[in-house]
């Protein structure tokens, strides 16, 4: 199978604390991969390293770009990483709260468009066309996520679940090769979680991308993902098919404690 994202030997420490050490992970094309682990295992830190918000001390993050081949992402600033094809959502929703729903999605298209100051000042034809294209494409994305009726509303006025989906729409606007979702189902009820699962499948099929997600909802992880990675104290302890991982004694120990070790 063709690889989409390949992380090897990734480590980062803050002072004396080794937050992530020797983490390795591969996401194949069209695959949905879950990253699980107890609270504080370093999952979000790992995401931050991959997307460039933190600078990992060692290791490499390689993205397989259809035109550019294999690109090393480590050391690049976050905005370059996004334009190369990695987009993410945040665990604690980070929408632009003063902007409307539509404008939030438009922000996601920033890396794919290029009108600069001078074309904006001159109000050139190409800048106007690009602007209209941004608006229309963003609206289509909202339609896909069934948020289009609310496009004029303030982003922060949306119900919680819609805000999460809006963040996904904003990330999709960057047309990523790999979509990173940080706890997309957090705070959702079972029905919403079910819908989210369907949505992830739809996203993968429509945009032909790979998904890497952090999740706590076990039933979702087990039924949704093709493969699962488990982290504990910043290190990988297991990986494989969901069924294999859920039988792995090390995983059971990490989640349930020593005495349940059967």
């Amino acid at each position: 199978m063709e690889k989409a994202l390949e992380v090897t030997q990734l480590s980062i420490s803050f002072g004396g604390l080794k937050a992530v050490s020797d983490m390795a992970l591969t996401v194949n094309k069209g695959e949905i991969v879950a990253l699980i682990g107890p609270n504080g295992a370093g999952k979000t830190t790992f995401f931050n390293c991959v997307t460039g918000l933190y600078r990992p001390n060692t290791g490499s993050v390689k993205l397989h770009h259809p035109e550019r081949g294999e690109v090393e992402l480590k050391g690049l600033p976050p905005h370059s990483i996004t334009s190369l094809g990695l987009a993410r959502t945040f665990q604690n929703i980070r929408l632009f709260s003063k902007m409307t729903v539509l404008e939030n999605v438009m922000m996601g298209m920033h890396s794919r468009t290029k009108a600069g100051i001078f074309s904006a000042l001159a109000a050139s034809r190409s800048a106007k066309q690009e602007e209209q294209q941004i608006v229309d494409e963003s609206y289509e994305l909202l339609e896909f996520l069934n948020l289009h009726k609310l496009y004029k509303a303030n982003a922060k006025s949306l119900p919680y679940g819609d805000q999460r989906r809006l963040e996904i729409a904003r990330a999709l606007a960057a047309r990523p090769l790999v979509l990173l979702l940080d706890e997309p189902a957090a705070g959702m009820n079972p029905q919403e979680t079910q819908e989210l699962k369907e949505l992830v499948y739809q996203i993968r099929d429509r945009f032909k991308l790979s998904v890497l997600l952090i999740e706590h909802d076990m039933s979702m992880v087990m039924s949704l993902s093709d493969r699962v990675y488990v982290m504990e104290y910043g290190s990988p302890i297991a990986d494989g098919k969901p069924a294999e991982v859920s039988r792995n004694p090390a995983v059971i120990k990490a989640y349930l404690g020593e005495e349940y070790h059967a």
Partner: protein, 405 residues
């Protein structure tokens, strides 16, 4: 009822507090005490009324907040409706512009001077709005860029005899360069730290101008700065004042239109995104360093232009025109007008420039009134007099549908 009870309590408390000050007076010649009870009545009534108004205003505010939270579409109010009507907006623009065009022809020289200052303040407000209102970076030393523009013209004239039309682009460019130079070290700073560094930069610039006597002539300043030329035609004093006014008006229009265009562009959106959440915008593919740098540079360019205009208007510059007070006043224009709002700058600048002129009677209390006005503003209308307008988007798909139905 609660309101009256509270107000009554407050007024009694005030009466008690001011009793020894305002009611008791010692008559030193007769060595007797004079009781001025009528003063107490005034204090009581005034504090009662003022407190009541204060409480009512606070209630009105909290009601407003609540209704804002409930209302989903932000544009259902009257203001939103009229600003969406293209005809009304263009009528408003045309009438405003024609007033501004006709104004100097009807006023005295003194008044033309005031109007010119107000328009320069509008340019400053617009320029500062780029970095404060759009990009959300608190700059407390904006007068420094203004000074760079003014002194560029002054020094170029003094040393090389350069005229206004050459100095204008030079002032803009050098101020822009300063903007870039200052922004390079401060770009990584956020919030308070940035404010302090820009404050320091403003003071350093002023001190350099004051103390580098060989070059800037220190506190003595530079005088006899030429007026802009008009094809070598000799103009009378009033005519030159009008000519300067029109140049300023034209440049203000350029600033105004360019800000309107920038605001609704990809670049403007990236500035606003940076001001809201730097991490999220970085992850959305915005080069935040570049965004802040361009905001700083562009903002400084407009300050430079305003500085050149100021120099040619007053014909004399010295460091006293570029103090921290001026920076603070420029910030007031932006806050008063509405951060991120373009039309608001007109109102903000005119308020800041004109009120002190027309309130000369209260000149002793000017700063006091200024402070009180800003405080009230922050409590009751933090978004400014004219908050930024929410943009309406034309979605091609929906346009088709609407045309059919």
């Amino acid at each position: 009822m609660y309101l009256i009870k509270r107000s009554l309590l407050v007024s009694i408390w005030f009466v008690f507090l001011t009793l020894p000050l305002l009611a008791v007076k010692v008559d030193t010649t007769n060595e007797t005490l004079i009781w001025r009870w009528e003063n107490m009545l005034y204090v009581g009534v005034i504090s009662f009324v003022l407190y009541m108004i204060w409480m009512l205003a606070l209630r009105w505010r909290s009601r407003q907040r609540r209704s804002e939270e409930v209302a989903q579409p932000r544009l259902t109010n009257f203001y939103g409706n009229i600003t969406d009507n293209k005809l009304i907006v263009s009528l408003f623009n045309i009438s405003l512009l024609s007033i501004l065009v006709v104004l100097p022809l009807l006023s005295s020289g003194y008044q033309i001077n005031i109007w010119t200052t107000s328009l320069i303040y509008v340019i400053i407000g617009l320029g500062l709005n780029i970095v404060v209102g759009f990009a959300g970076q608190l700059v407390l030393g904006y007068a420094a860029f203004y000074a760079v523009g003014a002194y560029t013209f002054g020094l170029l004239y003094q040393n090389f005899g350069v005229g206004f039309w050459v100095a204008l682009p030079c002032g803009a460019a050098i101020a822009g360069l300063f903007g870039v130079l200052v922004s390079l070290p401060v770009i990584r700073l956020r919030g308070d730290y940035l404010a302090i560094v820009t404050l320091g930069f403003g003071e350093i610039t002023r001190l350099v101008l004051e103390n580098w006597i060989e070059v800037t002539n220190g506190p003595g300043g530079i005088s006899n700065i030429p007026r802009p030329a008009l094809f070598n035609i000799e103009l009378s004093d009033t005519a030159t004042a009008i000519w300067v006014y029109y140049i300023v008006l034209f440049l203000m229009l350029v600033a105004f239109i360019s800000l309107l265009r920038l605001k609704n562009s990809r670049v403007g959106r990236s500035w606003i995104a940076v001001s809201e959440d730097e991490t999220a915008s970085e992850v959305m593919g915005i080069n935040t360093t570049w965004a802040k740098l361009t905001a700083f540079a562009l903002s400084a360019v407009w300050a430079g232009i305003a500085g050149v205009l100021f120099a040619t208007k007053t014909r004399f510059i010295n460091p006293d025109s570029f103090t921290f007070m001026d920076s603070a006043m420029f910030l007031c224009i932006v806050v008063l007008g509405g951060m991120g709002s373009v039309y608001g700058m007109l109102l903000g600048a005119f308020a800041i420039a004109l009120l002190p002129e027309y309130l000369r009677a209260f000149s002793e209390y000017r700063m006091l009134m200024f402070g009180a006005a800003m405080t009230l503003m922050m409590i009751f209308r933090p978004q400014g007099l004219i908050p930024p307008k929410v943009r309406r988007y034309r979605i091609s798909k929906l346009m088709g549908k609407e045309a059919q139905s």
